[in-house]
Every structure is written in C-alpha cells, then in structure tokens.
Symmetry: C2
Subunit: 366 residues, 2 copies
C-alpha cells in the first residue's frame, strides 16, 4: 500500500485576529478548489495544532461540510505538522481511510506555544536559551562565525519572499542581520524565526494522480522533552537517528536528495542540521552553507525560505514544508522551482531538537 | 499484520490536585510493572487528553524514561481515548512502530473540557441540554420511563463499585436516582456521568502473548460537531454507521458479542446505544435493559460500570473501556468476570454523539 500527496493549500503567514478556524478553512478550501476535490471523498481530517480548542478537527470538518470517518487533532509542539502527516500516512496504510486532509494551523498567541515544563531549564524556558547554547558551542568547537549565522538568514529570507505566503516582504542584508538586536549571547534578533499565524493543508491519498508524489521515507525520534535529556550538544541527536531511519526506509543515500526543507528555527539549527542529516561531516556545516550561497552545492536547502524566511506558525510548519516539497516535485514552484527535483525531504523538529521527524517524498512520473 | 493488547493499567478515578503528569505516570507504571515491560521496547507513546499542556506525550515519555520513535497527543473530546487506540493501531499496521503505550489522561478542571463552539446551541452549551433533548424525544416516541433511566444508573453503579478504580464507593437505590436533583427537563443529577480525574493505559503490540487479545474491528464516524449537524434525533446517528462498519471489519454479527462497554455519558445514551448498535430494534432499548437487570440477556453491558458507574475523565474513558475489555478477555476481571467472554466491544462517543468510535477485541486462546 503506497501513500501519495494529491493536493496542497497554504495561507499567507501573518499576525492577525483571524480565528484558528478561519485560518484552517482558508488553507483547506484553497486545496479543495485548486485540486477539485469532492468533499464526500474525504474520509479523514487530521489537524496539527497547539490550539487548546476542544474537538478542533470535528469543528473544522463541520465548517468544511465534510463528514469523515476519522477526525483528530494531534500535537507534538513544533513538530506537530510532520506528526500529523505520519499519522495520516498510518491511517491510510492501516486501510482505515483512503483520503485524509491534513491541516497544520496555529496562532502566534496560543497559550500552548511555550513549553513551561522542564525543570532542567530553570528560569531559562524561552527557546532562545537552548539556541544560544547550541550556537556558542558550535562557534567554539567548529569555528562557525557570526557571518555564517547571518548568511543563513539572508539566504532563507531571499527565498521566502518569492513564495507568496511568507510573513515577510523584503530581503535582509548581511549587515542588517549582523547588526540586529542581541538577544542571548551570540544570538541576534534575525537569527530567530518569527512566531506568527498561518495554516497549510495537504491531501494524502492511497491512489496516484497524473503527477504522483509518493511518501517513501519516514524517520522519527524523540529523545525526551528536556534540556537534560540531551547528551551531545555538538549535534542534533534526534535528527541523526531520525534521518538515518528515513534514508533506510526510502532505500536511498543522502546524496540522492535534491532538496531538503530544514527546520531553521534559529540560524544555528540549519548549520547543525546539515551535519546531523549527514549532508556533510560534523563541523563542516559552514562550508556547505558557503557552497549553497555560491550555488556550488549539489542540493538545495530551504527553497521555500524555511522558518527564517517565512515565519513559524508552530504546528503549521511541518505541513508547510511538505507543501513546498510537493510543489517542487510536481514542478509547480514557479520562479523558485528546483530543476530536476526528483527526491525531496523535510526535517521538522521540536523543543531543542529533543524530537526530529524526517520525511522523504519521491516524484514518480516523467 | 495483526495488533494485540499486551497490558493495561488504570488509576483510581478521583477529584484531586494531582497533575496531569502524575496521573499519566501512575497508570503507565502500573502497566509497566504488572506486565514486566522493558522501557527500551516501547517505540511509541500516544496520549489522549484534553489538556492544553504542550508537548505532553514527550514530557510524559521523558518522565517515564522512554525514548520513543513516535510521541504524540491526540484529541477528539470524549472520544479521544478510542481515537488514540486506533491511531496506535494504525502506526503499528503501517510498520512504523511495534509497541505503543497508549495513555488516556484528563483532569476534571481542564479548560478544554467544554465545547464552546456551536452556534446551533445558542447559550445551551452544557452537554445536559442535548442529553435532555434526546431523553424527552425517546420518552415521547418509545415510552421510555423515568424508572428506565434510573435503572441504567443503578445497574452501572452496582458494577462500578466492584472494580477498584471507580470514583464511587456506594450503590444507589432506584429511589435515590429518581428523587435526585432535576437538572434540565427529565434529566436528573444521577442520570449524568461525573467529570473527574483519572488515567488509563494500554500497550498495543504487533506480537501475541500467551493470552492474545486482538483488535479485530474498528468503525468510526463523525457527522460533524454541532447540534445542527444531526438529522435524526431518534438514534445516535454516528453510532449506527460506526458499529456497522466495525462488525463488518471484524466479520461478525452483533449477536457474537459477549460484552459491550457503552458510552453512557447520560442514562439515555445507554438505552439509545442498545438500539443504535443494533443489539435491539429502535424503541426496544428499555426491554433489553429490563432483560439485563433480570439477567436474561445473552450479552453483558458495561461490566466495568461504564461512565455512570465510574466517573468520566474525558479522554481517559475510551482507554478505560478498552482496559475492561482486555481484563475480561484475559479472564482477569475478578468478581465481575463475564464467563466465556470471547468477543468484546466498546462504544466511545463525543459531543451529542456527533462522533462515535466502535472497537471490537477478540480472545485468541483457550
């Protein structure tokens, strides 16, 4: 039994008073209209969200005029989006559903956006603290520079403003990033992704369409939930494990991947992810970054703009990454189209990389 | 690929200041100890909860010393528990995990316990309003009496106080129920289940143990989320659809079922469920009730005591129902053991029966 991505929809990322419901509906109806989906064919609806609204999947289903077999909200903080995709994949593989609408939706001011629990963090609960820790260590051990960190943001913002849904409208110069406000240690404002509102939708199905995109690899790992569950701060531990598993399931080498959407919650995350995803050896992340900027790399990273280039509506992010992979693999990405993109992957993580989910999609036409 | 239930654990239902975390840990460690489960073998943890705490599955996993592949919270109001079981079932069927710990856990004072959204309900948002509507209609059309309603509670409370985890300690007389405080229309206090704290845990696995209990049927349906999505108030519409599907998947007739755990959120729900699950024809629910009380029925209903006999910690309920099925099918139910129990089913629903999930378990030994 194979699982394919049939359609996608996404909203403009924003900071608004729009309700969680209207955001979800906007992404879902964009998908339903563009791909001419019959509502009666949708037998599952899985919502990824940090919203505490009860019965959220059913309410959205009701508003959409869908009467599904399966309706469910899933939550795993910033990796909720990819979690919803693997949940939908599993329901289809288990033959409990045929066509599942996955919607990632979140608000910038959700009460569940911040992880209050973690005795190991003491009072340093804001994500900038773990990001500063990872950043300082990487700079000290591997010579990563403030310029490297800034270049990640410059690259991703440049991609983001092309896609039509980014929160942002303008490019940033290297100087603007390097001179932006200092937050914690070496961490500056523009090294941090911006929490905003947004929704993204995907339709997973058991049948291929005329431009089939198939889910071929899934790797997932949670090493815990707290800073103290990490044993090696020189890499993203859960990413190392999840990516190995995903490559194995897809029966590919990392070199086969044409595009990787990476969870760049902070600039350092992208550089560390290059290494933890085994795109390069540990400590060589900054070299790949320079190659990417000079267009000398054999892979594209964050063609969508990633989190730094688009904003980060928590549970939406993993679904938005999958929307980008699907657009690229269906050759519908317009001016940011990655030429010859046949295998594309996403890396979605949560809470200081204590969780990582890696998904691999493959183009099966042409 | 078959999915089995390997172990179970459950807490005393209560009203307490215990945290959502400590409740979950209590049920999970009861399971892990009793069934001698190695933590390293658990590769998935799925939490059913209305709690808005973010990253809940990971935090509980961290506290338990488990480093799973899959960690996820699922929510579908009062049917979250069975939703978590079918999600775990799907992950195993999809070959993404082998041993998944499912925990249902909720607090009586969770902010997400009440569905605020439903324009069709106007100001009548409390569940007692839809229950009163169903009750009045059933009394008028089918001659169901106040005594029938009270007998459901008397029967279930009597079962509940035997199981060791019920919120309640004493039986209720027919008079006590019939004279209890009037809430809305014919609905009285003791016709309503009691929202409390509690947790229940199950271990789903891909391998049979020495007393294998297999999940053989799953039927699920959501007809919407609002009162206005219901077209026929004389039955539980979603239950009719979900149960047919479950019987079909299990390849059984309803007459093959030895025990049914039914979602008796209110007395009327149990009587209506008899009919909607096709145990009897529409309007004959009260006859089956009398047969059950006179021990003349060929099926047992709510041997655990159900929601009326135990209390109703929202997302916990579906998992607690499955714990009862497993205990009965493994012949570990003590003085409430249903003799010769080989096929057992559960009916878990949400929000005026706009969702129903029906699961069927089968004993595959002896």
């Amino acid at each position: 039994m194979s699982v394919y991505i049939r359609g996608y929809g996404i909203t403009k990322f924003r900071k608004s008073k729009d309700s969680i419901y209207s955001l979800a509906l906007e992404a879902a109806t964009a998908l339903i209209r563009r791909f001419e989906i019959e509502r009666k064919d949708i037998d599952g609806i899985i919502i990824a969200s940090s919203s505490p609204e009860p019965y959220l999947a059913n309410v959205i289903s009701d508003m959409l005029g869908i009467r599904p077999k399966i309706a469910c909200k899933v939550e795993q903080m910033c990796s909720s989006g990819s979690r919803a995709i693997t949940t939908a994949y599993s329901y289809i593989r288990a033959e409990l559903a045929k066509n599942i609408l996955v919607i990632g939706v979140d608000k910038h001011d959700s009460i569940s956006n911040i992880l209050e629990w973690d005795p190991g963090r003491g009072n340093f609960k804001h994500p900038t603290h773990w990001a500063a820790l990872y950043t300082q260590l990487h700079m000290r051990l591997f010579g990563t520079t403030e310029e490297d960190l800034a270049l990640v943001t410059v690259k991703n913002r440049k991609n983001g403003i092309k896609n039509g849904y980014s929160y942002f409208n303008n490019e940033l110069t290297l100087e603007e990033v390097m001179n932006s406000k200092q937050i914690v240690g070496p961490l500056r404002l523009y090294h941090c992704s911006y929490i905003c509102d947004g929704a993204a939708a995907l339709l997973l199905t058991d049948k291929p369409d005329d431009k089939p995109v198939r889910i071929v690899g899934i790797g997932e790992k949670s090493i815990g939930a707290s800073i103290s569950s990490i044993t090696d701060y020189t890499c993203l531990e859960s990413t190392v494990i999840a990516s190995k598993e995903a490559y194995k399931m897809a029966n590919i080498s990392v070199k086969d991947i044409d595009l990787f959407e990476i969870h760049d919650a902070f600039s350092i995350c992208e550089i560390m992810a290059y290494e933890s995803l085994n795109l390069v050896e540990k400590g060589k992340g900054r070299q790949l970054l320079r190659d990417l900027i000079d267009d000398k790399a054999s892979i594209k990273i964050n063609s969508s703009g990633g989190l730094l280039g688009n904003g980060h509506p928590l549970a939406t992010t993993g679904v938005a990454q999958a929307v980008e992979l699907t657009m690229q693999l269906k050759e519908e990405a317009g001016e940011r189209q990655v030429k010859g993109c046949r295998i594309a992957a996403l890396h979605n993580m949560a809470a200081a990389a204590t969780t990582s989910n890696v998904l691999i999609f493959k183009r099966e036409y042409g």
